[in-house]
Subunit: 577 residues, 2 copies
């Protein structure tokens, strides 16, 4: 294969010819200029590659790494991630969902105006002549775009999506806070009776988190209309409602004094108004008793929005009983959610293990004044031209592992903007939940490592006891695979028996099938079961005096399927215990 210099030299020859041809043909000036530019680039790159070239050192050495905030996942990790994804997808199907897939990038104007203060985190694509594009920030906006375009007949639907989304945020890799991360979304669209779809989603979320065994979890709920009602009652001017709402949302990480400071100093809110808000959101967590207290607050219930929100929470509570998930849900007035598009119920799931240090997720007490979690320490730079610093991972919790809410106006807003006549288009109420798969992976992975999980599913390793027997080994693995038995062999002509055993053991293959020339002639093969034990984080093969079992070659497949713990790979992926 050509070296970079060889490739550039070949390109130089080609481009020079093109350039000369264009010049001879008196081609149009733009094309000629384009060609001249390209030639210049190639020459510059070649010069930079030369050991004596200007900037040679800097440009010559390739930095072998993934982009900031992204990472590779190897076999062991993918085995765990695949397991998480499969459980989530199975639950989506159990709840009557159908799958949707949208492109990883969108036209930029589709994403504009949807994410409030976080819009600065959107990844843009370079304008290479054509559309202005950006990587998707979540699955919600693409779904709303799909529905507004008439997808799923733009009516009642239960749709789910699993895929990666992108945010130019400061990564905290070990806790699953990445610039590229996986989200699994489930959304219900359509005109339904109040809070029924919302309750379905809370039930779905409980089922998923329970089946994934993430540990004790709580789903915090609140209602945008209650929050907006509170803000109105306290006297927040309309244009400041969303910014003040963003400030309230930080109460799970900052003490009230800091949040108040942001409201007054940064966002120009009157301190008296801020204090009134504080009266509501400081005594914030509860269930029915909190709801009853708020329903008895006549200044609040006089506000139309607040009353509507409180009534809906009231209905929701009865549904939670029917779904038997009341004890998982906590009504929390300090939950606000950053995104602009929510209009009703909002929620966020947190697990004990994911709460920032010093913060009790279940009781939701005000945290102590600035903890390390609130103001994470910067790690000192080390090696490599990484342009900005990453946050010290040990100082931050995993955070919420799932969140969502109702967004009744987003689809209608797309339809109205597309019609362009300023008329209000017919909307489509929606409610959805996003599950942060990387955060769940970050919680589960240490347990998988602890349990010493395999990263491959090979069931049978085919060995030759002498003489190579390569065509015989190839023929047998081919036969096993055709029968749904994952099989492998060592890709050498005449491998030593020890080397073959070692290769099978590296993948912890449970059955070794040994071929011998004489035995094969007699129509026989030897099957040997292999077992491992996992003690103190170390996996060791259990040595056994067992020489294996002789099986008729013709009956081998049947024998493996009936005598062993075989699982058929051709009828759906299964997880080992």
């Amino acid at each position: 294969m050509a070296s970079p210099a060889d490739a550039l030299n070949a390109e130089l020859v080609k481009q020079t010819e093109i350039f000369n041809k264009l010049r001879i043909e008196n081609s149009n000036p733009a094309a000629l200029e384009e060609s001249r530019k390209r030639l210049g680039e190639i020459k510059r790159d070649l010069a930079a590659l030369k050991p004596g070239g200007k900037d040679a050192k800097k440009r010559e050495r390739l930095l072998l790494k993934t982009p900031k905030g992204t990472r590779d996942y190897g076999p062991g990790e993918m085995f765990c991630r695949d397991y998480v994804e499969r459980i989530v997808k199975e639950c989506f199907v159990l709840y009557g969902g159908a799958q949707l897939d949208t492109p990883v990038f969108e036209r930029k104007d589709i994403l504009a105006g949807k994410y409030g203060e976080d819009a600065k985190l959107i990844f843009d694509l370079e304008d290479q002549g054509g559309e202005q594009l950006a990587l998707r920030y979540d699955h919600t906006v693409p779904l709303a775009r799909y529905l507004a375009m008439g997808g799923a007949n733009n009516t009642q639907s239960k749709l789910w999506q699993v895929g990666k989304v992108y945010r130019r945020d400061n990564p905290v890799m070990s806790k699953g806070r990445m610039r590229e991360f996986s989200q699994a979304d489930f959304d219900i669209s359509g005109q339904w009776d109040p809070m029924i779809p919302d309750a379905e989603l809370l039930s779905l979320l409980c089922t998923i988190l329970t089946r994934l065994e993430v540990g004790e979890f709580t789903i915090k709920i609140n209602h945008r209309k209650i929050l907006d009602g509170i803000f109105e009652v306290c006297g927040v001017p309309p244009e400041k409602i969303r910014p003040i709402s963003s400030a309230v949302d930080k109460l799970d990480k900052l003490p009230w004094s800091e949040v108040k400071k942001e409201m007054t100093e940064e966002k120009g809110l009157d301190p008296t108004t801020a204090d009134k808000i504080g009266e509501y959101v400081k005594h914030k967590v509860g269930s029915r008793p909190l709801l009853d207290r708020l329903l008895a607050d006549t200044s609040l219930t006089a506000n139309v929005k607040a009353k509507q929100g409180l009534d809906e929470i009231n209905i929701l509570f009865t549904f939670l009983d029917a779904y038997k998930i009341t004890d998982r849900v906590s009504f929390d007035l300090s939950l606000a959610r950053g995104l602009d598009y929510y209009t009703g119920l909002i929620y966020e799931a947190i697990v004990e293990a994911s709460a920032p240090p010093g913060f009790n997720a279940v009781e939701g007490l005000d945290p102590a004044p600035p903890t390390p979690a609130a103001a994470p320490k910067k790690k000192s730079k080390k090696g490599g031209p990484d342009e900005d610093e990453e946050i010290d991972e040990s100082q931050v919790g995993v955070g919420s592992i799932a969140a969502g809410g109702r967004y009744d106006d987003l689809v209608g807003m797309f339809a109205a903007a597309a019609s362009g006549d300023g008329k209000k288009a017919v909307g489509l109420p929606c409610v959805g939940v996003s599950i942060g798969l990387d955060r769940i992976f970050a919680l589960l992975w240490p347990k998988w490592v602890e349990r010493g999980m395999r990263s491959k599913e090979v069931f049978a390793y085919v060995l030759s006891a002498g003489g190579g027997l390569l065509p015989e080994r190839m023929g047998l693995v081919q036969e096993l695979r055709a029968q749904g038995i994952a099989a492998d062999f060592l890709a050498k002509n005449k491998p030593k028996l020890n080397a073959q055993f070692a290769a099978g053991e590296r993948d912890e293959v449970p059955y070794a099938i040994i071929l011998g020339g004489d035995e094969l002639n007699a129509g026989l093969v030897t099957v040997k079961e292999q077992r491992w034990e996992f003690v103190d984080g170390k996996k060791t093969k259990i040595e056994s005096a067992d020489k294996g079992t002789q099986v008729q070659r013709a009956e081998l497949v049947q024998w493996l399927k009936t005598t062993t713990t075989f699982k058929d790979w051709s009828s759906g992926r299964l997880i080992q215990q």
Copy 2:
């Protein structure tokens, strides 16, 4: 939810405050300028939004579409795509593979110099202060980067990846030629005996295409060393070998006369040399007899590279016999593959249905002079500011559905470039195959539509015969789902029975479970099986006089699991027949 104008107004208030604060504090000029710029942008956006604003018409109206060359996949299509992906993944596991996942974008210098003439198709991300990034063009280069970084211990491995890749090419949507498309790759790395891993991959490819029932297919094979040997023997100068190779690769779409023209006029090759090449690549297709003819060509076997390539093909043929796939493989001297990084065996799978019109894929005759496939007609523009035209979809075949080859130097090249000292780093031989999932989907989807496949897997629909019974319906679906039975109900308080039946029928749910107040009190529910027939592309419910079966509520789950054709969704996804 806030309208775009409301959101902008709120942002204006906030940014004005920030700007004033910066000015009062005598902040540094750069920050002040940044803030002033942001304010200007917001004001411009607001002005544009106003009905009377300059450019108001143009900017106000949102174009609701996916980016060029991309599309959404709805429930029915995803059901089919998911099926394809699952078959492919199961085969990857059967062949001893382990999963890898890499980021969707890479640092741009990782991709540079790997794709020859096609490098212009790379999607770049905007430089937003930080790294220069680009969307991945394939899975091979990211895999090589992963291995060079020491992934999978940088040694013997069988790794697979499934995911989307990106190319700024001219899309032909209906044939599965997209700018965003899904590829499934399987790669084997490590020092092995010649052609064993290569044969494994050809066998894997045959297994996958057979199980997916894509129709009759052929795998064309060739060897880069034979091609390079032919070029050397014919007298092609070293720096022109890759460009001339690219020209040869077009022989499946263009007649020899056109290819020769590209070699001589565009790429400056001596016409006599071109004719010599023609003698080899025109009589191009065959199996052992072709190999024997080439092995008897002493001027060719005197070339070290050509001899090495021919010997390897010879070994491969014996392995194909052991794998019983000889009749699937065709030795084709005109196959060259565009990518720079191949060093040995190369291959490409084509199906009858995917060959361009007028081209016989199996016999590989020279195509007739410029067919519509070779020079696709442009479709006339219609509505919308789509910046360039798409190719008329009816004029082009699906093309190859899988391809790959050996790339022994790519990992070593990364390692050498990263060490930066110019020394040759230790390499890692690799061979891989990429399967074009969109092209396979384009082949299978019409058959799915023909067969009237469902797009949802709901098994039981829970209805109320009167009085709403909402908590009872919620409780029952919850119980069914907990038992692995996909279930749903109508999200209304007191729905009419007809409306509920209609909703269940829309999703073709096979079992209706009807709740009645009195019946429930007696501990009973009614189960009614529902069937559909599919005639002449139309699906209709078979009306039946059957009133259903009364079942004990307490025994319902057991009854459903034993009496019906139930499939458990909690133990792996299954496909309906």
